[in-house]
Symmetry: C2
DNA sequence: TTGAAAGCGCTAACAA
DNA sequence: TTGTTAGCGCTTTCAA
């Protein structure tokens, strides 16, 4: 139920009158245009007298410099685009937040460009549109196939950084060592005495994402059976359905989920079906979602530092903007966080 | 632990060579600049012959129109700024997502401007910086005090829309009927037989936020005692501490939380202290967080349509951009969603 | 259908 | 210290 009401009136001038230009200010202040510019930018000395008149005129006219004109003449853009398939999912929004914070500290703004489908066409169109804006550079979130397509569609002469995804020596990249982290959490489960570890995945940027590779590595290394992968969607409810299904299978004693929200869903599904976590089944996640700590049982997980990831991506981009042409890579190793959702298997 | 590695090489040209201009294209194609422009914009007929040569030249040079120049000459900006204190918290990110989706459909981009502290100074500085960008208009998220400050700092001649917060007839506003929703969920609790309802709040845009007003209204209307308000932070862990504390108080049988994440925290705190939800204490939230459905017990809550809220905000802004100077308001009534976290009080 | 000319709002280079 | 001149890259008259 939505309602829209109208209040005509008192703001008629807002959209109609065109904004004051620097020439208007110059006229009102009785000085030349460059003098106004000098006051604005502080690039050169202006006599106190004229400076005051300029400031007065600016105030009187409510003048603000035109960003497009400034960008045009200076050739410096202060906007960077983040191209992504998602903005509201935890990992994405936390990464974007990290980018924004780092960018803001350096005087840059972040524009969001969402590309919904991983098709060549859509990526192409999105890239063309976004390049129509006055951009300094682009950060591509490559958590999923959309990022891959976007990177392919990007022309070669624009500064860009990839976040996560496949390693490449063509493009600078900020990432988290997911393979090692996946190995670590699976080894941890194995060390608890589980014969093997089942794996529920979230949608990935390619056939197999890095945490899945880590899972497989650890299993093979331990000589454990490698069960079939169970795919989930980004929606935690898909985890619930999977949990209910898995509850019926007695051979399932440990489950490694692609992220914490899916882990929560799986735990809920398991509990709904009468299985206790971690007494009957151990479940671990990935990411360290803000709610992972307050969930009961607390979710054992890998603490991905998404804001830090975003910050590192921005730093890599900034290096390019400052003229450093080298392709660079920034990685970090996320720690295992042990809580209560995993334990030894029930002795049978 | 972060590691940065450098791969010098093959991309040296990227940052150095300056991009091709429309004049370059004209020269290569052997036509005049306006002809290239005509091909680009499709504004006028161009002979197939020249058109092909232009297209070829564009391709050869990897030419892309300069966004700043276009914005300057056309006077039309395609970027709208969202000014907010937060981007990663559920309600904020879901609203921003709604704005982005609606904006993208109309060919606009969204730039994020985060203002961390609700001080006049910081709001002023943020507004000045963001207005230095080529913006079409601004959407201010007024879920908290930052939005209020930002709105005060905004010059009068820029198109703007407020999302949520205090009603005003100075500025267009998209909001959700929180007062009525707050009343409804508290009445629901009262109808279950609870003598009164305690209230845990999240940080608000003013002394008392709308859902709190609704809570108070419903209590007063029913002649129930109005307990002291318990403030929480945005962090769900603060809810856990509050839940533990409240567990000791036998008079607390129903708790209305400012959002679902706090409700989850409170439930966890209550459970940690040995109290059962909803058998011993009923707890309800607000927002309908994606995890509210899979939490156990499922959280009874108010389903705020944040993406819809964002969409409506954009539509209001677009009306202004299209020359409609009237101040308008768009509201919607969010429904109560009954799950399992609330029930009748235990008979004593 | 095409090109020449003008101009968007601003900053930078040059003289005065 | 100041003003004049030029020019950023593009679109939009205006003639031809």
């Amino acid at each position: 139920m939505t309602e829209v009401s109208q209040y005509s009136g008192h703001t008629m001038s807002r959209a109609t009158a065109k904004p004051a230009s620097i020439a208007d200010v110059a006229r009102v202040a009785g000085v030349s245009v460059p003098t106004v510019s000098r006051v604005l930018t502080g690039a050169a000395k202006v006599s106190p007298d004229k400076r005051d008149r300029v400031l007065l005129a600016i105030d009187e006219l409510g003048y603000r410099p035109n960003g497009a004109a400034r960008a045009l003449v200076s050739g410096k853009q202060r906007i960077i685009a983040v191209m992504t398939s998602e903005t509201a999912i935890f990992g994405y929004s936390a990464t974007i937040q990290g980018i924004e914070t780092a960018a803001r500290a350096e005087g840059y703004f972040v524009v969001i460009s969402v590309v919904e489908n991983p098709t060549e066409d859509e990526a192409q169109r999105a890239v063309e549109l976004v390049l129509g804006q006055p951009l300094a550079g682009i950060i591509v979130l490559k958590f999923d196939p959309v990022g891959v397509r976007v990177l392919e569609a990007l022309p070669p002469d624009i500064p860009r950084v990839a976040v996560s995804g496949e390693v490449s020596d063509e493009v600078s990249q900020a990432s988290i060592e997911e393979v090692a982290a996946g190995e670590e959490i699976v080894r941890y489960l194995l060390s608890l005495g589980h014969p093997t570890v089942h794996h529920v995945t979230v949608p990935a940027s390619r056939d197999e994402d890095h945490r899945t590779t880590g899972w497989r590595n650890a299993l093979v290394e331990a000589g454990a059976e490698v069960p079939e992968i169970i795919p989930a969607t980004w929606d935690a409810s898909s985890g619930v359905r999977i949990g209910r299904r898995l509850a019926a299978d007695d051979s399932v004693t440990a489950i490694f989920c692609g992220n914490d929200e899916i882990a929560m869903g799986v735990i809920t599904g398991l509990s709904d079906a009468g299985r206790n976590v971690p007494a009957d089944v151990s479940v671990v996640g990935f990411d360290d979602h803000p709610l992972a700590r307050i969930w009961r049982p607390g979710i054992t997980t890998i603490a991905q530092d998404f804001p830090g990831l975003g910050r590192r991506a921005f730093e890599l981009l900034q290096a390019q903007l400052d003229g450093d042409a080298a392709v660079a890579r920034s990685t970090s190793r996320p720690p295992l966080v042990v809580r209560e959702s995993a334990g030894p298997p029930r002795v049978r």
